[in-house]
């Protein structure tokens, strides 16, 4: 199997641009609350979801915007939803962590790990009502420590469900390096739950595509669940405005005000032995260092990587990219118009 790399690139670029647009709106204050984006994960999202068709289902986590785009949901409806518009995908009731499209059998959840059980339920319905269809769960490596997700893998084995469990492994769960709180090895853990699988570099979209294709195909043919672990890099940290990223990027404005209290705390008369305090400061420093270092270099950016490998003419590429920009601009324009039309000025946070 070989992907249509141009089409794949187009999808990935669409995700990237939609999410960048959402980021812009968020920074402008037109979107309230948290904002978790999948920038840096396009290779995984597109490489997997390219294999789905009608009747297939997807369970997404808090980072589900790209998944919805890739399943074919109108980007304008997604952007509007993020802005809380009544004509958004969920009438503005859900927001970016709670995107739902019944038509696409695509659901999300802000509860870490919930995608596992949800995918099992979708797969059960697939097995009974739509043989040959599958369900895919997306979640992070941090979610692998959530009981319900482990239970779900085991349930999928027990019921022989057509599920692909996709773990987007960026190594971090908010500020926690997942390796520091995760025992064993994720592949072994999955196998200990009866689910075997593969690990891939998620920045290599074509590779993800090939491996996911095999695993999904297997599930479609009734050969049970599979596990795909794909690594990735997320330049914006956990969410937009991630405090570690802010401190790392604007040490003067963001870090300095915290240093005083931090040093004072570390120096207090009472507390742990000094060696431990020093160790804590060391860990905090390395947390910040990691945030500084995490950037989407050419090797880690799935979009740039795939672009380089395309074999179309540069005219065709420019045209494609232009089209994508157009689609995204259009979606944002629609969202902004609808914001005004609905007199939703007041929907900006706190007004």
């Amino acid at each position: 199997m070989k992907p249509d790399s141009v089409a794949l690139y187009r999808k990935m670029l669409t995700c990237r641009r939609v999410e960048e647009a959402i980021a812009g709106l968020w920074y402008e204050g037109r979107i309230s609350g948290e904002m978790h984006l999948g920038i840096g994960e396009e290779g995984i999202n597109a490489g997997v979801l390219d294999h789905l068709g009608d009747g297939d289902a997807v369970a997404l986590d808090h980072r589900g915007t790209a998944g919805m785009v890739l399943r074919g949901v109108d980007p304008a409806a997604i952007v509007k939803e993020c802005m809380g518009s009544v004509d958004g995908l969920c009438c503005g009731n859900g927001g970016h962590m709670h995107l739902f499209s019944k038509q696409h059998l695509a659901a999300s959840s802000g509860i870490v790990g919930a995608a596992g059980p949800a995918a099992c339920g979708f797969a059960l319905a697939a097995q009974q009502l739509r043989p040959g269809t599958v369900a895919v769960a997306f979640f992070g490596e941090g979610a692998m420590n959530q009981g319900m997700l482990m239970e779900a893998m085991n349930l999928a084995t027990a019921w022989d469900l057509p599920v692909l469990f996709v773990c987007r492994d960026n190594g971090m769960a908010i500020t926690t390096a997942s390796a520091s709180v995760t025992g064993g090895d994720l592949q072994m853990r999955a196998r200990g739950l009866g689910v075997s699988g593969r690990s891939v570099d998620g920045a290599d979209a074509e590779m993800v595509w090939r491996v996911a294709g095999e695993l999904i195909d297997r599930a479609r043919r009734g050969r049970g669940p599979a596990f795909l672990r794909a690594t990735c890099t997320r330049p914006e940290g956990h969410f937009l405005g991630d405090p570690l990223v802010r401190m790392a990027r604007s040490p003067l404005a963001q870090l300095k005000p915290r240093l005083g209290p931090l040093v004072a705390a570390a120096r207090s008369a009472e507390g742990a032995p000094m060696a431990q305090r020093v160790a804590s400061l060391g860990k905090i420093t390395s947390m910040l260092g990691r945030a500084v270092r995490t950037e989407l270099g050419p090797a880690h950016d799935p979009v740039r990587r795939l672009r380089k490998r395309l074999t179309i003419t540069s005219e065709a590429l420019v045209k494609l990219e232009h089209e994508v920009e157009g689609i995204v601009k259009d979606a944002v324009d629609k969202a902004l118009t609808s914001e005004t039309a609905n007199e939703k000025e007041s929907s900006r946070c706190g007004k």
Binding site: N93, G94, A114, L124, L129, A135
Partner: protein, 336 residues
């Protein structure tokens, strides 16, 4: 009309639903043994055994319902919902709202509840008021075979999530399983009309939110669900001999709650006594007080409910649950 036990009525209604709707599937721990007859009839795809993984299979029920099935997921006891509450309160209850009303979750969670057979405080909770606190979940708690079958039929037909609580003291299956274990050396204080009774030839759904008036009196109104309402009815008998005439309202569903019938009756009697096997505070009894006050009624009010963790010792267990002595005492007090 047929005569059935509470447990038979539930099984019969389930069988009827499974026959008339292919999308109905049941799953849970041990269901192939506990629901042996359904397993023998509908096979392993529609009667599915689960691992002891309540979070996974309740969560799966939510999505299965969203994707077109009508799952009836069994938690052995409602106490165990605590390990899987997320599926119910953060998902089943909220997805219709989150999706802007575009996606519904037609699932039933079936679970034993209630005490009186001596299993202790982690296995005898009622929790109906607790579950009803969360908007988006319906909670029913039938007290007779006819209601059990009719409400289960309605629950399966409902387009939203419904928690169906079957009382462990009314269900001969649960009682044999958890209580007597085949012993003839133990006996329980089982309300007769709850355990066995007439049921329709074909199940028709019973609308939620409609209380059944079990008895109409003039001095005070007693309201509740489950075994408590049978205790209230017994108490009403005793009270009537003392010249106190009590209404007994079986609410049948806790959410939705039939505020109108309660308010209407209390408007006549001027007194409300809530009989509740769930915990007293922040639950059904409080909600009924609020609906009275919201209706602008001034009434005398009392509640007989569970005030702490249910003790194991059967003597103190009985004292902790609403029993006829506590109910009559509270009623007499209200008449003072």
């Amino acid at each position: 009309m047929r005569e059935m036990t509470y447990a038979q009525a539930i099984e019969d209604a389930l069988a009827q639903a499974m026959t008339s709707d292919e999308r109905v599937v049941i799953f849970g721990e041990d269901v192939q043994a506990l629901r042996m007859n359904l397993f023998a009839r509908f096979g392993k795809h529609r009667v599915r055994q689960t691992p002891i993984s309540e979070s996974a299979f309740l969560g799966a029920a939510v999505a299965a319902a969203m994707a077109g099935l009508r799952p009836v997921a069994e938690l052995i006891m409602i106490d165990f919902v605590a390990v899987a509450a997320d599926a119910l309160i953060n998902h089943a209850a909220k997805i219709e709202a989150f999706s802007g009303g575009r996606w519904q979750v037609p699932m039933v969670v079936r679970a034993g509840c209630g005490g009186g057979y001596g299993d202790g405080g982690q296995h005898e909770q009622a929790l109906w008021g607790w579950l009803a606190h969360i908007p988006g979940i319906k909670v029913v708690a039938p007290s007779t075979p006819a209601d059990a079958g009719g409400l289960l039929t309605a629950a399966i037909a409902d387009d939203g999530p419904v928690v169906f609580l079957e009382h462990q003291l009314l269900s001969e299956d649960w009682l044999d399983y958890l209580g007597s274990g085949g012993r003839s050396t133990v006996s329980y204080d089982i309300p007769v009309g709850g355990r066995q009774g007439e049921v329709p030839d074909r199940w028709v759904p019973i609308k939620f939110g409609e209380a059944a008036v079990r008895r109409r009196g003039s001095d005070l109104t007693m309201a509740g669900v489950g075994v408590g309402i049978h205790r209230a009815a017994e108490a009403a008998e005793v009270l009537s001999r003392e010249g106190i005439s009590a209404s007994v309202l079986d609410l049948r569903s806790v959410a939705p709650l039939d505020c109108n019938t309660v308010a209407g009756d209390v408007a006549r009697t001027g007194r409300l006594l809530v009989v509740d096997e769930d915990y007293r505070d922040f639950g059904l009894s409080g909600e009924l007080a609020a609906t009275l006050l919201e209706a602008g009624l001034t009434a005398r009010y009392a509640r007989v409910a569970v005030e702490g963790t249910i003790p194991f010792d059967p003597v103190r267990e009985r004292a902790a649950l609403p029993n006829i002595e506590r109910i009559t005492a509270a009623a007499r007090n209200l008449m003072k």
